[in-house]
């Protein structure tokens, strides 16, 4: 079971990132993934510097064109992380979409 307590603590930290813009500093596209994400390869992971100065990691979602590069501008969204166990609490994280 994932830890509902950890998720509850984490929610208060990451909710402040909803609805922000940022610039991509680092990026890679994963083709061989941990089992949780295996179904969804390839996916792009980026490190973004937000307009509030903080740096956070996240996956790119909803992207067709253009290709995400270092320097691309992205916007934050809240998205679901795949369940490991159907009984677990649903886990959410910040991802980025082109904007």
């Amino acid at each position: 079971m994932n830890s509902p307590v950890k998720m509850w603590r984490r929610q208060k930290e990451i909710r402040k990132y909803i609805g922000l813009k940022g610039v991509v500093l680092l990026q890679t596209t994963i083709y061989v993934a941990p089992s949780r994400y295996r179904e969804y390869v390839p996916y792009t992971v980026v490190l973004v510097e937000l307009d509030n100065g903080e740096k956070i990691y996240g996956q790119i979602c909803d992207n067709k064109d253009p290709i995400i590069k270092n320097g691309s501008i992205v916007c934050t969204v809240l998205r679901k992380i795949p369940d490991i166990n159907k009984e677990d609490l649903v886990s959410y994280t910040i991802k980025f979409k082109p904007c």
Binding site: L26, T28, P34, V45, L47, Y57
Partner: protein, 400 residues
């Protein structure tokens, strides 16, 4: 002889004043690296040590302490308290210390063993590194390995190829290299591996083969990444008068940095390598040009390119160019040969054993026992062992 050694001693040296008493490497033994289905972790460990005792004609009764390096035993097998397991294996009561710093576990164990010998006169110590990675699926391994990254990196779905892929894209974009530059490193290290009977991969690879292997994490391809291997390596170190060996440990330095890649001050350089490297050279009292042979941490091809710059063997941004020139390949070398063992890429990467194997390779080179891959007249060797995406680095310098 005393005058000669005094000449290369550094004023900053924290080593013995009587530099003859610097710790030395008495012996080295390694198992085969690869997919060793028949052997368990502790069987491999035992084999590497027993082989070492045979080669050096010693036994456990002469050992004062054991420094053990292993990363995944606890995570994969639910086995901790390895000190007890090792005491059981060798029927001993001596101190056994377990070190973990991901891929730098071996370097850390070695560094600590040398610190122990500085602080304690008249001792023999064993440094053992072992890892068993093929008992579980590659997916399970990938997941276990990612424990050496930050929680946020894990939550984002990053893997180690992913973290180094980010570094590679940054480096390639900054210094205007194409991703092809990575493949030269793999070709070189496989060439060296073909000369190493203990290597996981003894086959050479062509540039095209590397370029055509599938992507793991852009821009890194399968043949840019070190493999999943089993193996164990062991060293016998001593500062006893009667066991003085030819190959001396001139320095061993460890530096740390943030576990999280995002908190580093730069992404085309590992500060831990720079700090540990500078300190190691300082204490050893020799300069970059003195190094004849080096084992550099090539967990991914980009890591070797950047390490060459961070260790001061070439200028910042030039690592790629040097790779393309095969400047550190045996037979083509400009000055120094890098990863004569085959590196992590070809000789394999049983995580806990790698840092020990690196020292062992230098020992073989400096004592003229490297056979087909012998670097002629090798006098000084450097090993570079990194943990995670650069949170720990250990740089050690050996000399004769």
């Amino acid at each position: 002889m005393m005058l000669f050694i005094y000449h290369i001693g550094s004023i900053n040296s924290s080593w013995e004043e009587d530099t003859d008493m610097r710790p030395s490497i008495i012996g080295y033994n390694s198992t085969q690296f690869g997919e060793l289905w028949d052997k368990s972790l502790y069987q491999l460990l035992y084999e590497s040590v027993q082989g070492l005792f045979d080669k050096t004609n010693r036994d456990i009764k002469e050992i004062d302490a054991i420094f053990y390096s292993n990363m995944l035993g606890g995570l994969l097998d639910n086995n901790l308290l390895s000190s007890g397991k090792i005491a059981e294996l060798f029927h001993t009561h001596i101190p056994v210390y377990h070190y973990e710093s991901a891929c730098a576990s071996g370097g850390m164990a070695f560094q600590q063993a040398t610190m122990y010998l500085q602080a304690n006169r008249d001792k023999n110590v064993l440094v053992i590194g072992a890892e068993k990675m093929t008992d579980v699926s590659p997916e399970k391994i990938t997941e276990a390995l990612i424990s050496a990254s930050s929680g946020e990196e894990q939550s984002a779905g990053l893997t180690f190829p992913g973290l180094y892929g980010m570094i590679a894209n940054y480096y390639l974009q900054k210094y205007l290299y194409s991703s092809e530059v990575l493949s030269y490193v793999s070709v070189k290290n496989h060439f060296h591996g073909s000369l190493n009977a203990h290597a996981h991969f003894k086959k050479k690879v062509s540039f095209e083969m590397v370029e055509q292997s599938s992507l793991v994490a852009d821009p890194l391809r399968v043949l840019h990444c070190s493999p999943i291997s089993d193996g164990a390596s062991a060293l016998l170190l001593s500062n006893k008068k009667e066991y003085l060996g030819q190959v001396k440990i001139l320095s061993s330095s460890l530096a740390t940095d943030t576990i999280s890649l995002k908190k580093r001050t730069s992404w085309d350089s590992l500060e831990t390598t720079v700090i540990a490297g500078n300190q190691a050279f300082d204490i050893a009292g020799c300069d970059r040009k003195s190094i004849d042979v080096a084992e550099v941490h090539d967990c991914f091809s980009i890591a070797e390119i950047i390490a060459m710059e961070d260790l001061g063997f070439c200028k910042k941004g030039e690592g790629g160019t040097k790779a393309m020139e095969y400047a550190t390949q045996l037979g083509k070398q400009e000055r120094l040969v890098v990863n004569s063992s085959g590196g992590l890429k070809a000789s394999g990467h049983p995580i806990g054993a790698t840092g020990i194997k690196q020292i062992g390779e230098l020992y073989l080179q400096l004592s003229g026992q490297a056979g087909e891959r012998q670097v002629a007249s090798a006098q000084y060797g450097l090993s570079h062992n990194v943990g995670g995406s650069g949170a720990v680095a250990v740089v050690s310098i050996l000399g004769i």
